[in-house]
């Protein structure tokens, strides 16, 4: 009794970016310098896509690149910071210039908006944000939160509305052709984002057989039915890293942060690493094989 193979979901990076229309409401994976689908973000920028809306927990890298390329219209976020390297330069400048609208949440509250959607609930109660400007100042999301008592105990709670972004863009460790996705290490909010979004595109370091996935079904984060398309993109998170595959590229991060100090220098960065390279492999050649090898993870420690 073997299963008939389902429709193939493997597509190219260019095809994946083409699925995402201008003005889409996105949620993007990432926590600090890991799990970021940056090859896909670069391809979106390369294809001229923009006017995006984001709902964000930790996708500092994607948000800053999109803001720096002028492709980000508004965001609800809990935090954008380059851990160890300070503020996100392009995002911060864009907000200060009034080019990007921002509406702030805490990590737990923004994630709870995806949890509500994932669970098929209209909202989730939380005990955070109460009493602060995160509740009082809501330029985008006045009707997305409501203070109300627990119907059973009367305790004060904040209810946050289910969020259903149009797309979740995710970078993960490996997947099979049916879209079953596994992630090594911490999983950030990938599961909540993918379950909340209407459509899910996953880029991965490795494509493996369905049999490989099925040998460790406990490790599957996203089952295939959640995933519309899978793209094979080795080093697809660079300059961020992937646990057990490669470390984030500190040199390149420092280069990026310096470039982000002004619109002019960041334009040069985009010219060099996005517009000036036709595709992801050209990008990797520009980074250089020697550097990619240096970044590889130690198999025992995973980094």
């Amino acid at each position: 009794m073997t299963q008939v193979s389902h429709g193939q979901k493997l597509i190219s990076l260019a095809e994946a970016a083409a699925l995402v229309p201008d003005g889409a409401h996105l949620t993007i994976s990432g926590f600090a310098h890991s799990l970021a689908p940056l090859a896909l973000v670069r391809e979106l920028i390369r294809q001229g896509k923009g006017n995006f809306e984001l709902t964000s927990m930790g996708d500092c890298w994607a948000a800053d690149m999109l803001a720096g390329a002028g492709r980000l219209k508004r965001t609800r976020l809990s935090n954008y910071m380059f851990e160890g390297f300070g503020r996100c330069p392009n995002f911060s400048r864009a907000v200060e210039a009034g080019e990007v609208e921002a509406d702030d949440y805490s990590h737990f509250a923004i994630t709870s908006r995806w949890v509500a959607a994932a669970l098929g609930l209209p909202s989730m109660p939380v005990r955070v944000m109460l009493g602060t400007d995160l509740v009082r100042k809501k330029p985008l999301d006045r009707d997305a939160i409501a203070e109300a008592p627990c119907p059973l105990t009367g305790e004060p709670l904040l209810f946050v509305r289910a969020s259903r972004p149009d797309f979740a863009l995710v970078h993960a460790s490996r997947a099979d052709a049916e879209g079953n996705v596994q992630v090594f290490g911490t999983v950030s909010t990938i599961e909540e984002q993918a379950r909340a979004a209407r459509r899910v595109i996953v880029t991965v370091e490795e494509i493996v057989s369905g049999q490989t996935i099925r040998e460790q079904p406990e490790s599957t984060l996203l089952p295939g039915f959640l995933v519309e398309a899978v793209v094979h993109v080795p080093y697809g998170a660079h300059p961020a890293g992937m646990f057990r595959h490669y470390n984030f590229d500190r040199q390149h991060v420092e280069h990026y942060v310096r470039a982000g100090k002004s619109p002019e220098t960041f334009r040069q960065y985009l010219e060099a690493y996005v517009f000036g390279v036709p595709d992801h492999y050209a990008y990797l050649r520009k980074i250089g094989i020697r550097r990619l090898m240096e970044l590889r993870a130690d198999p025992w420690w995973g980094y």
């Binding site: 890991s34 851990e83 996100c88 907000v95 994630t111 999983v187």
Partner: protein, 259 residues
């Protein structure tokens, strides 16, 4: 030395077998120091989904693979933060761009929120930690602009408007217990919940602290000196925990590092 006494004062706030929600930088150094001294049973939790970390060396952030590798449980951000809401976390550490007299924190924006002069990173897990942990320790450099009379944006709750306003808002965590700066250790007066001076670091006067505080600080009649770091603590910090001087001023000029 300012950094070192902050790390030592913070470490002393941790008790053995506690569950501690840790950020990077000084909180991490303080947690390591506590683990090597009086609190070997501390469980370290990071919002990135790392539970029971056993770090090899200093990490540059809470998502650092050094913390993830060989931890007890590698999970999700939602799991880690839900431990806070379940009341399982004894103590959390927070930094601040601004902190007011009730221990409320701004880490979102300077200036008008919609068109800020300086856009900061935002709450992240800070609001969650401050709302939910049993107690919170704030670690911040003591400069007048960081201790304003009024925050530009209230990201993270301390005692809100003081008194019992925090409890009335529905916040179940205990709120800030200490503010540790490079000048002093501060606490909160039990009824009004206003910030009060607890001790000044060696060589610092009460007037020095007042001069760098933008609101009226409660000052009890006698203010002890902060117990200085012991030689053992200093050695652990300089030789074992941060030998490269990444966070603490290095004991001598650092050699140029290979990239």
């Amino acid at each position: 030395m300012g950094q070192e006494i902050m790390a030592v004062a913070a470490a002393r706030e941790l008790r053995d077998n506690e569950m501690a929600f840790i950020g990077t930088g000084l909180p991490m150094i303080a947690a390591y120091l506590a683990t090597f001294t009086h609190a070997p049973g501390l469980t370290l939790i990071f919002e990135s989904g790392i539970i029971g970390a056993q770090p090899r060396g200093l990490a540059i952030g809470v998502g650092d693979f050094k913390l993830l590798s060989h931890c007890q449980k590698a999970t999700s951000l939602y799991y880690a933060l839900s431990l806070l809401q379940a009341g399982r976390v004894d103590v959390g550490f927070l930094g601040a761009a601004e902190v007011d007299q009730y221990g409320n924190i701004n880490s979102t924006a300077i200036g008008d929120y919609r068109r800020p002069t300086v856009r900061l990173p935002g709450s992240g897990g800070a609001n969650d930690i401050a709302s939910l942990a049993k107690r919170v320790i704030i670690i911040v450099g003591h400069q007048r602009r960081k201790f304003p009379a009024r925050l530009h944006y209230l990201t993270t709750p301390g005692f809100l408007d003081g008194g019992d306003s925090r409890r009335r808002a529905g916040l179940v965590g205990g709120g800030p217990s200490r503010v540790i700066t490079d000048l002093a250790v501060l606490g909160f007066e039990p009824v009004s919940k206003r910030m009060q001076l607890e001790s000044v670091h060696p060589g610092v006067t009460v007037e020095d602290v007042k001069a760098e505080t933008g609101f009226e600080l409660l000052v009890p009649s006698t203010i002890p000196e902060t117990v200085p770091p012991t030689l053992g603590e200093i050695r652990l910090l300089r030789e074992r925990i941060d030998p490269e001087g990444e966070y603490l001023a290095p004991p001598q000029p650092a050699a140029p590092k290979a990239v």
